[in-house]
Symmetry: C2
Subunit: 212 residues, 2 copies
DNA sequence: GTCTATATTAAGATAGAC
DNA sequence: GTCTATCTTAATATAGAC
Protein backbone atom coordinates (compact mmCIF):
# COMPACT_ATOMS: atom_id res chain seq x y z
CA UNK A 1 0.00 0.00 0.00
CA UNK A 2 1.30 3.34 -1.01
CA UNK A 3 0.87 6.66 0.71
CA UNK A 4 -1.96 8.90 -0.19
CA UNK A 5 -0.93 11.24 -2.97
CA UNK A 6 2.02 9.16 -4.09
CA UNK A 7 2.55 8.22 -7.71
CA UNK A 8 0.26 10.91 -9.10
CA UNK A 9 0.87 9.70 -12.62
CA UNK A 10 -0.55 6.27 -11.91
CA UNK A 11 -3.39 7.81 -9.94
CA UNK A 12 -4.15 9.95 -12.93
CA UNK A 13 -4.10 6.93 -15.21
CA UNK A 14 -6.43 5.05 -12.93
CA UNK A 15 -8.86 7.93 -12.79
CA UNK A 16 -8.69 8.26 -16.52
CA UNK A 17 -9.45 4.61 -17.04
CA UNK A 18 -12.47 4.76 -14.72
CA UNK A 19 -13.56 7.98 -16.29
CA UNK A 20 -13.38 6.47 -19.74
CA UNK A 21 -15.35 3.43 -18.72
CA UNK A 22 -18.05 5.47 -17.01
CA UNK A 23 -18.22 8.14 -19.67
CA UNK A 24 -18.58 5.40 -22.25
CA UNK A 25 -21.28 3.63 -20.25
CA UNK A 26 -23.19 6.88 -19.86
CA UNK A 27 -23.06 7.71 -23.56
CA UNK A 28 -24.07 4.18 -24.50
CA UNK A 29 -27.01 4.28 -22.10
CA UNK A 30 -27.96 7.79 -23.20
CA UNK A 31 -27.99 6.68 -26.84
CA UNK A 32 -30.30 3.83 -25.93
CA UNK A 33 -32.72 6.06 -24.02
CA UNK A 34 -32.60 9.25 -26.12
CA UNK A 35 -33.08 7.35 -29.38
CA UNK A 36 -36.07 5.50 -28.00
CA UNK A 37 -37.87 8.40 -26.33
CA UNK A 38 -36.46 11.65 -27.72
CA UNK A 39 -34.75 14.33 -25.68
CA UNK A 40 -37.68 15.38 -23.54
CA UNK A 41 -39.01 11.86 -23.20
CA UNK A 42 -35.76 10.54 -21.84
CA UNK A 43 -35.01 10.89 -18.13
CA UNK A 44 -31.75 10.91 -16.25
CA UNK A 45 -33.17 8.20 -14.01
CA UNK A 46 -33.56 5.86 -16.99
CA UNK A 47 -30.11 6.68 -18.33
CA UNK A 48 -28.55 6.17 -14.91
CA UNK A 49 -30.26 2.81 -14.50
CA UNK A 50 -29.17 1.57 -17.93
CA UNK A 51 -25.63 2.82 -17.30
CA UNK A 52 -25.54 1.15 -13.90
CA UNK A 53 -24.69 4.39 -12.14
CA UNK A 54 -26.48 6.72 -9.77
CA UNK A 55 -28.05 9.88 -11.08
CA UNK A 56 -25.69 12.22 -9.23
CA UNK A 57 -22.81 10.21 -10.59
CA UNK A 58 -24.01 10.90 -14.12
CA UNK A 59 -23.87 14.58 -13.32
CA UNK A 60 -20.37 14.19 -12.00
CA UNK A 61 -19.24 13.26 -15.51
CA UNK A 62 -21.53 15.58 -17.49
CA UNK A 63 -22.77 18.97 -16.37
CA UNK A 64 -26.34 18.39 -17.54
CA UNK A 65 -28.76 16.24 -19.50
CA UNK A 66 -28.42 18.68 -22.38
CA UNK A 67 -24.63 18.20 -22.39
CA UNK A 68 -24.92 14.41 -22.69
CA UNK A 69 -27.31 14.77 -25.59
CA UNK A 70 -25.14 17.29 -27.40
CA UNK A 71 -22.06 15.13 -26.93
CA UNK A 72 -23.90 12.23 -28.58
CA UNK A 73 -25.14 14.29 -31.51
CA UNK A 74 -21.84 15.93 -32.35
CA UNK A 75 -19.91 12.71 -31.78
CA UNK A 76 -22.06 10.92 -34.34
CA UNK A 77 -21.86 13.46 -37.12
CA UNK A 78 -18.71 12.06 -38.66
CA UNK A 79 -20.03 8.51 -38.68
CA UNK A 80 -23.13 9.82 -40.39
CA UNK A 81 -21.47 11.92 -43.08
CA UNK A 82 -18.47 9.74 -43.91
CA UNK A 83 -20.26 7.61 -46.52
CA UNK A 84 -21.16 10.70 -48.55
CA UNK A 85 -17.63 12.08 -48.15
CA UNK A 86 -16.36 8.80 -49.58
CA UNK A 87 -18.22 9.30 -52.88
CA UNK A 88 -15.32 9.37 -55.31
CA UNK A 89 -15.49 11.71 -58.33
CA UNK A 90 -12.86 9.56 -60.02
CA UNK A 91 -14.81 6.34 -59.62
CA UNK A 92 -17.32 4.67 -61.90
CA UNK A 93 -20.52 6.73 -61.39
CA UNK A 94 -23.20 4.06 -60.95
CA UNK A 95 -20.91 1.88 -58.85
CA UNK A 96 -20.01 4.86 -56.64
CA UNK A 97 -23.62 5.74 -55.98
CA UNK A 98 -24.60 2.12 -55.37
CA UNK A 99 -21.71 1.82 -52.93
CA UNK A 100 -22.95 4.93 -51.13
CA UNK A 101 -26.44 3.42 -50.90
CA UNK A 102 -25.02 0.16 -49.59
CA UNK A 103 -22.91 1.91 -46.94
CA UNK A 104 -25.87 4.01 -45.80
CA UNK A 105 -28.07 0.93 -45.56
CA UNK A 106 -25.37 -0.77 -43.50
CA UNK A 107 -25.39 2.20 -41.15
CA UNK A 108 -29.14 1.81 -40.73
CA UNK A 109 -28.70 -1.88 -40.00
CA UNK A 110 -25.72 -1.55 -37.67
CA UNK A 111 -26.48 1.79 -36.00
CA UNK A 112 -30.26 2.13 -35.89
CA UNK A 113 -30.23 3.98 -32.59
CA UNK A 114 -27.91 6.62 -34.00
CA UNK A 115 -30.24 7.04 -36.97
CA UNK A 116 -33.24 7.44 -34.70
CA UNK A 117 -31.38 9.95 -32.53
CA UNK A 118 -30.86 12.14 -35.59
CA UNK A 119 -34.38 11.55 -36.84
CA UNK A 120 -35.87 12.59 -33.51
CA UNK A 121 -33.80 15.73 -33.62
CA UNK A 122 -34.56 16.75 -37.21
CA UNK A 123 -38.22 15.83 -36.86
CA UNK A 124 -38.55 18.27 -34.00
CA UNK A 125 -37.02 21.12 -35.96
CA UNK A 126 -33.31 20.34 -35.58
CA UNK A 127 -32.88 22.89 -32.77
CA UNK A 128 -29.35 21.71 -32.01
CA UNK A 129 -28.31 20.74 -35.55
CA UNK A 130 -29.54 23.53 -37.80
CA UNK A 131 -26.11 25.13 -37.73
CA UNK A 132 -24.32 22.00 -38.92
CA UNK A 133 -27.02 21.24 -41.48
CA UNK A 134 -26.95 24.72 -43.00
CA UNK A 135 -23.14 24.73 -42.79
CA UNK A 136 -21.05 21.58 -43.14
CA UNK A 137 -23.80 19.32 -44.45
CA UNK A 138 -25.04 21.79 -47.04
CA UNK A 139 -21.48 22.39 -48.24
CA UNK A 140 -20.86 18.67 -48.55
CA UNK A 141 -24.11 18.12 -50.43
CA UNK A 142 -23.28 21.03 -52.76
CA UNK A 143 -19.90 19.52 -53.50
CA UNK A 144 -21.23 16.04 -54.22
CA UNK A 145 -24.19 17.39 -56.16
CA UNK A 146 -21.63 18.98 -58.46
CA UNK A 147 -19.99 15.61 -58.96
CA UNK A 148 -23.32 13.97 -59.77
CA UNK A 149 -24.27 16.79 -62.16
CA UNK A 150 -20.97 16.36 -64.00
CA UNK A 151 -21.58 12.63 -64.35
CA UNK A 152 -25.04 13.32 -65.74
CA UNK A 153 -23.76 16.00 -68.12
CA UNK A 154 -21.16 13.53 -69.39
CA UNK A 155 -23.86 10.96 -70.03
CA UNK A 156 -22.35 8.53 -67.53
CA UNK A 157 -25.60 8.40 -65.56
CA UNK A 158 -29.10 9.27 -66.67
CA UNK A 159 -30.27 12.84 -65.94
CA UNK A 160 -31.31 13.29 -62.34
CA UNK A 161 -31.77 16.14 -59.88
CA UNK A 162 -28.61 15.67 -57.82
CA UNK A 163 -29.84 17.05 -54.46
CA UNK A 164 -33.11 15.16 -54.61
CA UNK A 165 -31.15 12.04 -55.54
CA UNK A 166 -29.20 12.47 -52.31
CA UNK A 167 -32.43 13.05 -50.36
CA UNK A 168 -33.79 9.84 -51.89
CA UNK A 169 -30.79 7.87 -50.72
CA UNK A 170 -31.16 9.26 -47.21
CA UNK A 171 -34.90 8.67 -47.11
CA UNK A 172 -34.80 5.12 -48.47
CA UNK A 173 -31.93 3.87 -46.32
CA UNK A 174 -32.78 5.63 -43.06
CA UNK A 175 -36.37 4.44 -43.35
CA UNK A 176 -35.21 0.93 -42.44
CA UNK A 177 -33.76 2.21 -39.15
CA UNK A 178 -36.23 4.96 -38.26
CA UNK A 179 -39.39 3.01 -39.14
CA UNK A 180 -37.93 -0.37 -38.25
CA UNK A 181 -40.88 -1.23 -36.03
CA UNK A 182 -43.39 -0.55 -38.81
CA UNK A 183 -41.34 -2.39 -41.43
CA UNK A 184 -41.12 -5.49 -39.28
CA UNK A 185 -44.77 -5.40 -38.25
CA UNK A 186 -45.92 -5.05 -41.87
CA UNK A 187 -43.62 -7.79 -43.16
CA UNK A 188 -44.63 -10.07 -40.32
CA UNK A 189 -42.68 -12.71 -38.43
CA UNK A 190 -42.00 -14.77 -41.55
CA UNK A 191 -39.44 -12.18 -42.66
CA UNK A 192 -37.45 -11.42 -39.51
CA UNK A 193 -34.58 -9.57 -41.22
CA UNK A 194 -35.70 -6.99 -43.80
CA UNK A 195 -32.20 -5.85 -44.72
CA UNK A 196 -31.08 -8.43 -47.32
CA UNK A 197 -34.22 -7.89 -49.37
CA UNK A 198 -34.02 -4.12 -48.83
CA UNK A 199 -30.48 -4.17 -50.20
CA UNK A 200 -31.54 -6.00 -53.35
CA UNK A 201 -34.54 -3.73 -53.80
CA UNK A 202 -32.53 -0.52 -53.44
CA UNK A 203 -29.80 -1.77 -55.74
CA UNK A 204 -32.38 -2.47 -58.42
CA UNK A 205 -34.08 0.86 -57.81
CA UNK A 206 -30.96 2.99 -58.16
CA UNK A 207 -29.59 0.93 -61.03
CA UNK A 208 -32.76 1.46 -63.06
CA UNK A 209 -32.83 5.12 -62.09
CA UNK A 210 -29.24 5.85 -63.05
CA UNK A 211 -27.73 3.28 -65.41
CA UNK A 212 -27.54 4.88 -68.87
CA UNK B 1 -84.57 36.15 -21.63
CA UNK B 2 -85.78 32.71 -20.92
CA UNK B 3 -85.94 30.87 -17.64
CA UNK B 4 -83.09 28.69 -16.58
CA UNK B 5 -83.61 25.17 -17.79
CA UNK B 6 -86.15 26.07 -20.46
CA UNK B 7 -85.74 24.95 -24.06
CA UNK B 8 -83.35 22.15 -23.26
CA UNK B 9 -83.05 21.28 -26.90
CA UNK B 10 -81.64 24.68 -27.80
CA UNK B 11 -79.46 24.63 -24.74
CA UNK B 12 -78.13 21.33 -25.92
CA UNK B 13 -77.53 22.68 -29.40
CA UNK B 14 -75.69 25.67 -28.00
CA UNK B 15 -73.50 23.47 -25.87
CA UNK B 16 -72.85 21.23 -28.79
CA UNK B 17 -71.78 24.11 -31.01
CA UNK B 18 -69.41 25.47 -28.38
CA UNK B 19 -68.17 21.98 -27.66
CA UNK B 20 -67.43 21.41 -31.31
CA UNK B 21 -65.58 24.67 -31.65
CA UNK B 22 -63.50 24.08 -28.52
CA UNK B 23 -62.86 20.44 -29.23
CA UNK B 24 -61.69 21.42 -32.70
CA UNK B 25 -59.46 24.18 -31.36
CA UNK B 26 -57.92 21.79 -28.85
CA UNK B 27 -57.19 19.12 -31.45
CA UNK B 28 -55.76 21.69 -33.85
CA UNK B 29 -53.51 23.10 -31.12
CA UNK B 30 -52.54 19.64 -29.94
CA UNK B 31 -51.55 18.63 -33.47
CA UNK B 32 -49.34 21.70 -33.68
CA UNK B 33 -47.61 21.01 -30.38
CA UNK B 34 -47.43 17.20 -30.41
CA UNK B 35 -46.04 17.11 -33.95
CA UNK B 36 -43.35 19.64 -33.08
CA UNK B 37 -42.22 18.19 -29.75
CA UNK B 38 -43.45 14.62 -29.49
CA UNK B 39 -45.78 13.32 -26.82
CA UNK B 40 -43.53 13.80 -23.83
CA UNK B 41 -42.10 17.05 -25.11
CA UNK B 42 -45.52 18.63 -25.49
CA UNK B 43 -47.15 20.24 -22.46
CA UNK B 44 -50.78 20.99 -21.72
CA UNK B 45 -49.75 24.58 -21.01
CA UNK B 46 -48.51 24.98 -24.60
CA UNK B 47 -51.59 23.32 -26.06
CA UNK B 48 -53.89 25.44 -23.92
CA UNK B 49 -52.14 28.62 -24.98
CA UNK B 50 -52.27 27.76 -28.69
CA UNK B 51 -55.92 26.77 -28.36
CA UNK B 52 -56.74 29.97 -26.48
CA UNK B 53 -58.19 28.09 -23.54
CA UNK B 54 -57.20 27.55 -19.96
CA UNK B 55 -55.53 24.32 -18.97
CA UNK B 56 -58.40 23.09 -16.77
CA UNK B 57 -60.75 23.85 -19.63
CA UNK B 58 -58.76 21.49 -21.85
CA UNK B 59 -59.32 18.79 -19.29
CA UNK B 60 -63.00 19.54 -19.25
CA UNK B 61 -63.19 18.39 -22.88
CA UNK B 62 -60.66 15.56 -22.73
CA UNK B 63 -59.95 13.37 -19.71
CA UNK B 64 -56.16 13.52 -20.11
CA UNK B 65 -53.21 14.50 -22.26
CA UNK B 66 -53.00 10.89 -23.40
CA UNK B 67 -56.63 11.00 -24.57
CA UNK B 68 -56.02 14.07 -26.74
CA UNK B 69 -53.03 12.40 -28.34
CA UNK B 70 -54.86 9.16 -28.99
CA UNK B 71 -57.82 11.00 -30.51
CA UNK B 72 -55.44 12.71 -32.93
CA UNK B 73 -53.66 9.52 -33.93
CA UNK B 74 -56.75 7.44 -34.54
CA UNK B 75 -58.54 10.33 -36.25
CA UNK B 76 -55.72 10.66 -38.77
CA UNK B 77 -55.42 7.02 -39.75
CA UNK B 78 -58.00 7.17 -42.50
CA UNK B 79 -56.47 10.27 -44.07
CA UNK B 80 -53.16 8.47 -44.03
CA UNK B 81 -54.26 5.17 -45.52
CA UNK B 82 -56.81 6.37 -48.06
CA UNK B 83 -54.29 6.92 -50.89
CA UNK B 84 -53.15 3.30 -50.70
CA UNK B 85 -56.74 2.09 -50.50
CA UNK B 86 -57.40 4.03 -53.72
CA UNK B 87 -54.83 2.00 -55.69
CA UNK B 88 -57.06 0.46 -58.34
CA UNK B 89 -56.31 -3.10 -59.52
CA UNK B 90 -58.29 -2.34 -62.69
CA UNK B 91 -56.27 0.74 -63.58
CA UNK B 92 -53.16 1.16 -65.69
CA UNK B 93 -50.35 -0.12 -63.42
CA UNK B 94 -47.66 2.57 -63.81
CA UNK B 95 -50.24 5.36 -63.79
CA UNK B 96 -51.87 3.92 -60.65
CA UNK B 97 -48.58 3.78 -58.77
CA UNK B 98 -47.53 7.23 -59.93
CA UNK B 99 -50.90 8.57 -58.80
CA UNK B 100 -50.36 6.98 -55.40
CA UNK B 101 -46.93 8.61 -55.16
CA UNK B 102 -48.39 11.97 -56.14
CA UNK B 103 -51.21 11.73 -53.58
CA UNK B 104 -48.78 10.75 -50.83
CA UNK B 105 -46.49 13.66 -51.72
CA UNK B 106 -49.48 15.98 -51.60
CA UNK B 107 -50.25 14.70 -48.11
CA UNK B 108 -46.69 15.51 -47.07
CA UNK B 109 -47.05 19.00 -48.52
CA UNK B 110 -50.51 19.73 -47.16
CA UNK B 111 -50.42 17.83 -43.86
CA UNK B 112 -46.81 17.86 -42.68
CA UNK B 113 -47.78 18.03 -39.01
CA UNK B 114 -49.85 14.89 -39.34
CA UNK B 115 -46.89 13.14 -40.96
CA UNK B 116 -44.58 14.21 -38.17
CA UNK B 117 -47.07 13.10 -35.55
CA UNK B 118 -47.00 9.59 -37.01
CA UNK B 119 -43.25 9.69 -37.48
CA UNK B 120 -42.69 10.66 -33.86
CA UNK B 121 -44.88 7.80 -32.80
CA UNK B 122 -43.35 5.10 -35.01
CA UNK B 123 -39.83 6.34 -34.31
CA UNK B 124 -40.38 5.79 -30.62
CA UNK B 125 -41.57 2.24 -31.10
CA UNK B 126 -45.22 2.84 -32.08
CA UNK B 127 -46.48 2.12 -28.55
CA UNK B 128 -49.99 3.27 -29.41
CA UNK B 129 -50.08 2.15 -33.05
CA UNK B 130 -48.54 -1.30 -33.14
CA UNK B 131 -51.99 -2.87 -33.06
CA UNK B 132 -53.20 -0.98 -36.12
CA UNK B 133 -49.92 -1.50 -37.94
CA UNK B 134 -49.87 -5.25 -37.37
CA UNK B 135 -53.60 -5.42 -38.12
CA UNK B 136 -55.32 -3.09 -40.58
CA UNK B 137 -52.18 -1.66 -42.16
CA UNK B 138 -50.53 -5.02 -42.67
CA UNK B 139 -53.72 -6.43 -44.21
CA UNK B 140 -53.98 -3.47 -46.57
CA UNK B 141 -50.34 -3.78 -47.61
CA UNK B 142 -50.78 -7.52 -48.18
CA UNK B 143 -53.77 -6.87 -50.39
CA UNK B 144 -52.06 -4.20 -52.49
CA UNK B 145 -48.82 -6.16 -52.65
CA UNK B 146 -50.85 -8.88 -54.30
CA UNK B 147 -52.07 -6.42 -56.91
CA UNK B 148 -48.54 -5.23 -57.61
CA UNK B 149 -47.24 -8.79 -57.84
CA UNK B 150 -49.95 -9.62 -60.35
CA UNK B 151 -49.01 -6.62 -62.46
CA UNK B 152 -45.37 -7.68 -62.41
CA UNK B 153 -46.23 -11.29 -63.25
CA UNK B 154 -48.27 -10.05 -66.22
CA UNK B 155 -45.30 -8.01 -67.44
CA UNK B 156 -47.21 -4.74 -67.03
CA UNK B 157 -44.53 -3.36 -64.70
CA UNK B 158 -40.91 -4.44 -64.29
CA UNK B 159 -40.23 -7.01 -61.55
CA UNK B 160 -40.13 -5.43 -58.12
CA UNK B 161 -40.49 -6.52 -54.50
CA UNK B 162 -44.02 -5.25 -53.83
CA UNK B 163 -43.74 -4.58 -50.08
CA UNK B 164 -40.39 -2.83 -50.39
CA UNK B 165 -41.86 -0.80 -53.26
CA UNK B 166 -44.56 0.40 -50.88
CA UNK B 167 -41.95 1.15 -48.20
CA UNK B 168 -40.04 3.15 -50.80
CA UNK B 169 -43.08 5.23 -51.61
CA UNK B 170 -43.68 5.92 -47.93
CA UNK B 171 -40.04 6.76 -47.24
CA UNK B 172 -39.57 9.04 -50.23
CA UNK B 173 -42.76 11.02 -49.85
CA UNK B 174 -42.86 11.31 -46.06
CA UNK B 175 -39.24 12.43 -46.04
CA UNK B 176 -40.34 15.80 -47.43
CA UNK B 177 -42.62 16.33 -44.44
CA UNK B 178 -40.65 14.66 -41.67
CA UNK B 179 -37.24 16.05 -42.64
CA UNK B 180 -38.63 19.29 -44.04
CA UNK B 181 -36.25 21.40 -41.98
CA UNK B 182 -33.21 19.53 -43.26
CA UNK B 183 -34.41 19.56 -46.87
CA UNK B 184 -34.93 23.32 -46.80
CA UNK B 185 -31.64 24.04 -45.03
CA UNK B 186 -29.69 21.91 -47.51
CA UNK B 187 -31.40 23.39 -50.56
CA UNK B 188 -30.96 26.89 -49.21
CA UNK B 189 -33.12 29.99 -49.54
CA UNK B 190 -32.87 30.03 -53.33
CA UNK B 191 -35.27 27.10 -53.49
CA UNK B 192 -38.01 27.97 -51.00
CA UNK B 193 -40.51 25.28 -52.09
CA UNK B 194 -38.98 21.81 -52.57
CA UNK B 195 -42.22 20.12 -53.59
CA UNK B 196 -42.50 20.85 -57.33
CA UNK B 197 -38.99 19.55 -57.95
CA UNK B 198 -39.58 16.64 -55.59
CA UNK B 199 -42.67 15.70 -57.59
CA UNK B 200 -40.75 15.66 -60.87
CA UNK B 201 -37.89 13.71 -59.30
CA UNK B 202 -40.15 11.05 -57.81
CA UNK B 203 -42.15 10.72 -61.01
CA UNK B 204 -38.93 10.07 -62.94
CA UNK B 205 -37.67 7.68 -60.27
CA UNK B 206 -40.76 5.48 -60.20
CA UNK B 207 -41.23 5.62 -63.94
CA UNK B 208 -37.70 4.33 -64.55
CA UNK B 209 -38.15 1.74 -61.83
CA UNK B 210 -41.43 0.37 -63.09
CA UNK B 211 -42.14 1.21 -66.74
CA UNK B 212 -41.59 -1.98 -68.76
C1' DG C 1 -68.48 25.97 -19.13
C1' DT C 2 -64.78 28.49 -17.41
C1' DC C 3 -61.74 30.12 -14.17
C1' DT C 4 -58.28 30.52 -9.86
C1' DA C 5 -56.02 27.99 -6.72
C1' DT C 6 -53.89 23.90 -5.45
C1' DA C 7 -52.71 18.96 -4.79
C1' DT C 8 -49.38 15.61 -6.48
C1' DT C 9 -45.88 13.72 -8.77
C1' DA C 10 -41.82 13.56 -11.60
C1' DA C 11 -37.50 15.23 -13.05
C1' DG C 12 -33.18 18.01 -13.33
C1' DA C 13 -29.80 19.39 -10.43
C1' DT C 14 -27.11 20.16 -5.92
C1' DA C 15 -25.22 19.52 -0.93
C1' DG C 16 -22.51 17.19 1.74
C1' DA C 17 -21.03 12.78 3.97
C1' DC C 18 -17.88 9.13 3.10
C1' DG D 1 -15.65 9.19 -7.18
C1' DT D 2 -19.78 7.72 -5.35
C1' DC D 3 -23.67 7.79 -2.62
C1' DT D 4 -28.11 9.42 0.21
C1' DA D 5 -30.88 13.03 0.95
C1' DT D 6 -32.88 17.08 -0.66
C1' DC D 7 -33.88 21.42 -3.19
C1' DT D 8 -36.52 23.37 -7.00
C1' DT D 9 -39.13 23.60 -10.81
C1' DA D 10 -42.38 22.12 -13.97
C1' DA D 11 -46.18 19.42 -15.38
C1' DT D 12 -50.52 16.60 -15.03
C1' DA D 13 -54.57 16.70 -12.93
C1' DT D 14 -58.34 18.12 -9.59
C1' DA D 15 -61.33 21.09 -6.31
C1' DG D 16 -64.45 24.27 -5.98
C1' DA D 17 -66.15 29.07 -6.78
C1' DC D 18 -68.70 31.55 -10.23
Amino acid sequence: MRARGARPVNEARTRTRIQRRNTGAILEAALEVFSAHGFRGATLDQIAEVAGLSKPNLLYYFPSKEAIHLELLTGLLDLWLDPLRALDPAGEPVAEILAYVRRKLELSRDFPRESRLFANEVLQGAPRLSGVIAGDLRALVDEKAGVISAWAAAGRIRPVHPRHLIFSIWALTQHYADFDVQVRLVLGPAEPDPFPEAGRHLTALFTRLLAP
